[in-house]
Amino acid sequence: MAAQRAGRRGQEMADDEAHTPLQAILLADSFTQRFRPITMERPKVLLPLVGVPMIDYTLEWLASAGIEEVFVFCCAHAKQVTSYLKTSRWKSQPNFKLTCIQSDDCVSAGDALRSIDQRNVVLCSSKVLGDFVLVSGDTVSNMPLKEVIQEHKARRTKDKLAVMTMVVKRCKPSPLTHQTRLGNEELVLAIDPATKQLLHYGAPNKQRQSILLDKNLLAGRQGVRLHLDMQDCHIDICSPEVLMLFTDNFDYQQMRRDFVRGLLSDEIMGNKVYTYEIFEDYATRIDNFRAYDVVSKDVLHRWTYPIVPEVSFSDSQATVNLDRCNKYREQGATVSRNALIGENTFLGQGTTIGSHSKIKNSVIGRGCKIGENVVVEGSYIWDNVTIADNVQVIQSIICDGVLVKAGARLEPGVVLSFKVTIGENFTVPQYSKISRVPEPTEQDSSDEELEYADSTGDDSGGRIYISANKVQVGQDGAGYRWFKDAVHDEEWKQSAAAISGEKIKELMAKQEQEEDDIQDVDVIPEEKLLSDEEESVDEDDNFEKEVEENFKRAVNGVKLENVVLEVNSLKLGYNKAFSDCAGAMFRAMLNLALETPHSTAAELLSTTKQVISKWSTLFRNFLKSEDDQIEVLLKFEELCLESASEFSPLFSKVVEELYDKDLVSEEAVMSWASEKAGAEEADKVFLRQCESFIKWLNEAEEEESEED
């Protein structure tokens, strides 16, 4: 009977999917350093999230969503990851196959995918991937995958170029949300509402408060929907071509910044990316401490159901009880009668909590000892941590084996890495990160490789670092403070600490300011943003940059003739006129003047004059006609308005200088003035500045004619 059953099941499977197993590639490394210093000693995917390593969340989700084969790509601390997976229950799970791929030389997601592609070819044909799900090992989700994969496959059969489907989820449409929740930047997506094709992916331009779109996007479409309210879940359904694309374009490093934008801007190949929106389901990625905090809370709040603590999905055997107000307690956690356990808490097995301690909104792992009168709020304490009496821990992350001595205080945003000791009555300042491993210095070339060295667990125990610097960790403490990131301005955005009221107000003010602009964008994207000029902005930029490069070469001593030749060939290459060359060259000259240190406007003027006189011979090569000279003036005006605003008070002076050096003729200035006379009032600022000069020119002309 059993055999019959098995046979039937086999048949069903064959009927269902004609059967290529659903596969996933899980990158067990995020290729960033945001979780440092913790990730110096343990890979990010093994860091516990509410008592369970992150990778278990991802694998559980993949397995329950019907994925049958997962390739785990390990990079940093590869040995730790593989040895963890070997002993885990994933190896013995029915209908679920786990393969670890190790690599030591990958520094980005792009490298990882290229390496998978190569192995794929090298190893054996049976391993060839079909469509696969590409996720990172820090994804927490409960979304079903069958539907999105089917949608992807259906699209693929119709259109071979639909190589990827991205999962997105709506979140509150404000820059505030992105930052407070996940610590990420805002994201603007342009999506074709009819086909769900992704047309644009990127952050809005902060300075100009606008979004640049290629007007070709509108061709043949009923409309384009711009989204500021989408969160990228970092779950991608990819076709095998994606791997090939990575191999072909060996400079692609990151999935989003390089690959997606590369595909979107590449019109020759015509590969397309589509989106899939999820509504009720949860999906997100933990890529910094803030996201860690937020996702932990979401798990405690059960948004990730059925992947929640009391449904045991990892190896731990302890049963978890759930009380009112999301209080989770594993069997074997001992809490003193007088201790106060508040809402949204998780207490692990073997943890003891002393009397009169207050725990709230926090996760405390297994085997921890919390003393008396301790306050723990909004913090994440991992396993075997000892916290002595009268300690305050607020919005901090404390790793395994840490010892916090009596009376110490951890201020918001503190991260204590493995086995750090904090001395008695010591106050750890905001946002400080303390580790037993000293911070690698800037010059240290092995910086990248440190994570790849196999630091076996007790290695750090072997060489004990006792910091001589008591200022950093207090009397009889042990550990080094890391400063590299602490000075980083945006620290508050990505730490686990709640964002202070001031910062929020600041953001709100900014947001209100921006709101109008956003509306503008929604209403008139085509006319305002999609003019020809904007379209070729990129190209212009490139051209100007290259001209500037050449100019610098001239400064550095390359012969003038050669530079002229180079620029001429650029002119041909970019299909530009002499006037463009002249404009670009002038810009380069101004930049040179700007770069030389100056304190007052007068000083700047004098350096500018020097530069102009020195390079006038070179410059003259491009000023063939009056038109070119007018172009230079227009360019100068434009520059003064935008990048080189320091020149705006000096506008007329510089124009005079150009006239004196005979670079700009009288006629050119006059025709520029007459051209501008008809312009809007706002545009006349510089014209007015030059009024006296123009007047003087006029008079000189008259005098000349009288003389005749």
């Binding site: 009977m1 059993a2 098995a6 397995a63 329950s64 799970q93 029915p94 209908n95 409960n142 989820k169 709506r170 979140c171 509150k172 404000s174 505030l176 949300t177 407070t180 929740r181 309210d229 509504f279 009720e280 389901d281 949860y282 905090d293 937020v294 809370k297 979401d298 709040h301 059960r302 948004w303 990730t304 159901y305 059925p306 449904v311 045991s312 999905f313 049963t319 759930l322 107000c325 999301n326 809402e343 909104n361 709640a498 964002i499 929020i504």
Partner: protein, 403 residues
Amino acid sequence: MVAAAMPDLQAAVDDFVIKLKRRQVEGSLATAKSTVLLLRQVVSHQRIPSSGPASSLIDAVKSVGSRLIAANSMELAVGNMVRRVLHIIREEEATIVAAQVGVTPVSDSDDDADVDGVPGLSAVALAAANRTALRAPSLHNLLESLPTSAGANVEPVPESDTKSRSSDKNSKSWKLKHGVIDAIGLLLGEIENYHSEISEQALEHIHQNEVILTLGRSRSLLHFFREAKKKRSFQVFVAEGAPRYQGHKFAKELAAMELQTTVITDSAVFALISRVNMVIVGAHAVMANGGIVAPVGMHMVALAARRHAVPFVVLTGLHKLCPLYPHNPSVVLNELKSPSQVLDFGEMSDCLDGTDGSPVHVVNPMFDYVPPELISLFITDSGGHNPSYVYRLVAEIYSPEDH
């Protein structure tokens, strides 16, 4: 023990455990059915030793059963089915021992004497006869029969064990196994047919031009209404059953049957209950005291019905009947689901962290417990029963050792 011997079976058990854990098995009917199928596999794979055949079977079923129950303590149907199967094994054993030793089985009916007199009768028939015998009379008899079987099990094996004896033994264990598998088959049939058994009683309960109120969706109720619709015309109010809104789907199904259907919000139940003649609902589980575990919102409906003296009728199969009491702390009576059913994550995402003020809490329980005093009648596949009679049903279909 079982697992080591049978890798195939082990895989099947693991598979089901994982499915239960991931909450991928929905509804008590599906759960009960797969549990019974799995247990039948366990029984048929179990190699029965010549000494103590029944106890080895019981151990095997218990070891698998405890894993299944731990996987999802909220699916009470799993535990029910494990206990039913254990009860079946005990019964079979009692029958066989009785037949072998020649002691009259616990019954005073005349048939049983005949059964004993005919040695060629198949074990199945014997078992069937015995089962009816066990079920019929009283709790007292039921309890009395078991100790004798336990004692008899060891006693009748004589010291003079010969080859012929052992082969006889084998045939005995074979008989037991066969009997158990057969009885499990009957149980399966019972589970599969309970809809039709229940709906046969529809005409007795629903009368012409009545107004009936229900909450959420129930498959047995759908069959019940379909049967009633053949002879009667009546009207149904469906409370939508937030936050899962299964009432919407149910209303569609009813409308497709050409029933006059009205959807109302859960909060409108009290306003409309005065116009209603009867409330009929399905349940997730029936507890031993006659209370029910049902989709959230049911307690409110029951209270409204009591306030207006409207009969509150519960349709349930016997597989939902659970021998546990709701005050037992080991019985978790609720499951908290994702808040996404209640609130839109996108809209809420800024007030979940408590950056301004304290964060919003969302609680989304799946079930309500309705106490027995609010329930007027149970309609089961074995007929209509009062809540106060439920303990009796429990005693009939489960062995007290397994509670």
